[in-house]
Symmetry: C3
Subunit: 271 residues, 3 copies
């Protein structure tokens, strides 16, 4: 990643802070106090409270679509005030500033993080640091300074985060082969994203894949939700190349009574 | 509308994507990747899922307040992945990029759209187009290019959208005259906007209009919600010049048990 | 506060308009029509409908974190269309444009407002002013003009707002001393902010404070939510220096059945 003291990196905010309280707005105020020309984009703020796994999915499924140089600030932080670390991680094109609590797990699984630093240098924090709002007092000012070209190595010593394994399952196309996967994310529309990942170029339409979730069986893949029938679940490859289960114009999560973690079984049964 | 390759048009986003998932944020990332200086404004993102009619109302009631040259991107798109078209429509001062699914109906009723093009030219899409997220893969990159001055005619061939008729009713002030209208939108406060439109300069305060909705009768118009009495429904001309029914400091939709589509009867009964 | 016709003040929006309707987006359109280079930040838009007290808390707890010169536009306005005044208040570093309905009460209690003007000069309003959407027709255009350097004294005559008293209680550390406070705000996480304010530098950790709320007793203060035990309420000093009651990873408001206004009793019982 090119760095330049002249740069003005985009700042991207991802939190579970909602829109009811002052939390998100205050973070922006702090950033703009440090970098009055900062460009700030909201990635999402309605991550369910303290749901680190949901935050991890939202980040992983979107970060590649942001411009080179973007600084992601992720605050889904049930451990605020405890000894959990805050880190700054560098990917090929982006920086990620976040509590070290699992929100980077899918990026670690994909081995896209090159270097990681612990965020310790109080010169880049607000003067008074509260015990309950590090998003305001630590992460926002650090992001403000990074947006102005601060090198992450100034924030603290370099550390290593362990690689997450087994976050994803991969589909191999062999007849009779069975796979076990699980629901890892449920979106606003009630669609169920599984951790079963489809390698680019895999043709799932010309074969028959049988999918079981709860007491429901889906035979074959669809291309889009619009292909579905009323109230019948279908499976497709979602916009992040994961197999997803949904229902046309309805909420699969409610119709099937499924929560995150639900097991999904896949089996190839030939053409 | 003036066009200029030097221009940097404002981009206005209207979706049913909510703030829980990465959808809206990802769209902004894509736009900023194409036009790093893009100005992006959120119009609304909590349009009820797949509610094209609500999206149509939000767009119609607000677009005239945006600066000349603004590009509206509307993604309320239950048909994503199907054969429904994507269009770019040109009004007197604005561009509208959206699936062709009815979201433009009130603009078509008002005959403000001058020219419409089908959006087909893949040069302005992302390289990989998913079947489930055209907001990211087609509409956002197209808007990014339009914001930089791309002429809409580059997107595809010109087409004609049929005029919507009978979307609005108009109030004529003749004693004894009766009108039938319907509720077309319910806002956050539970107020019920009808499709009964009041021509600018019409004085409704000096006459008596009798309004029936469900088993409730309202006699005469109010100027504002503050004029109302506790738990009693009132009618006024709303900020979009439509007759609206509401209750002071309460939700008319719940008190009256009314949904979109509910019939409303109006009758002039003299002074 | 420095003023300059060259300035481009940040505009900060705080409303109860939500994200479902066109209200917030339309306000931004109006501002950008007047100042195409305006920087607009959302403070919060999910203030509960017509809850002026909640808006007052969100504003008070965040405004000091915004850059010098910021113009706050606050629209929590149940009295829209009535005779309630609209005011422009000047603090040491910021301007506040809002209906005069109590939303400034904590700023008035802190005596941070130096001068206040009534907003009356129609030259800075939209040409047609509705009776139901002054956020669009009055407050946004006024803010747009202020962001361009308009002096508040141009808006109308100077007025005096009465000081709010007794909004906060202050903790004195004397053994046996009892205090009565109340819950004034409940945030997204269900935490209960009280109006008991802790002066900077006060050490509450080395003494024993006993806290009663409903039929629940809390002995001693915690530093952070992470220190708490499952389902047991704790008390801490929140990021606005108020005593706050919460439960680790759960909603205190629901577990304790507490609403805004609930009385809280404090007593020092020695080390």
């Amino acid at each position: 990643m090119k760095r330049s003291t002249k740069s003005n990196r985009l700042i991207v905010l991802l939190t579970d802070f909602g829109r009811k309280d002052a939390f998100v707005g205050t973070m922006k105020g702090v950033i703009l106090g440090i970098n009055p020309n900062a460009s700030i984009v909201d990635l999402a703020h309605e991550v369910p409270p303290q749901d680190v796994d949901a935050g991890a999915y939202v980040l992983w499924s979107s970060y590649t679509f942001f411009p080179k140089g973007s600084v992601f600030v992720v605050v889904v932080d049930p451990g605020v005030g405890s000894r959990r670390r805050i880190v700054c991680a560098e990917g090929r094109n982006h920086l990620f500033v976040t509590p070290d609590n699992g929100v980077l797990k899918y990026l670690l699984a994909d081995q896209v993080l090159r270097r990681v630093w612990e965020v310790k240098n109080k010169s880049y924090f607000l003067q008074n640091v509260s015990q309950t709002f590090h998003g305001r007092d630590i992460l926002s000012p650090v992001a403000g300074h990074l947006s102005l070209g601060l090198r992450p190595s100034k924030l603290g010593k370099e550390i290593v985060l362990p690689r997450s394994r087994n976050e994803f399952a991969f589909l191999d196309k062999k007849e009779g082969k069975k796979f076990s996967a699980k629901v890892i994310y449920i979106d606003r529309f009630g669609n169920l994203a599984t951790n079963l990942r489809v390698r680019s170029g895999t043709d799932l339409m010309s074969e028959t894949l049988r999918i079981r979730i709860k007491n429901c069986m889906i035979q074959g893949m669809s291309r889009s939700y619009a292909e579905g029938s009323r109230k019948l679940p279908l499976a497709l490859v979602n916009s992040s190349n994961l197999v997803e289960i949904g229902v046309k114009n309805a909420r699969a999560s409610e119709l099937l009574g499924v929560k995150v973690g639900e097991r999904v079984l896949f089996e190839f049964v030939g053409r």
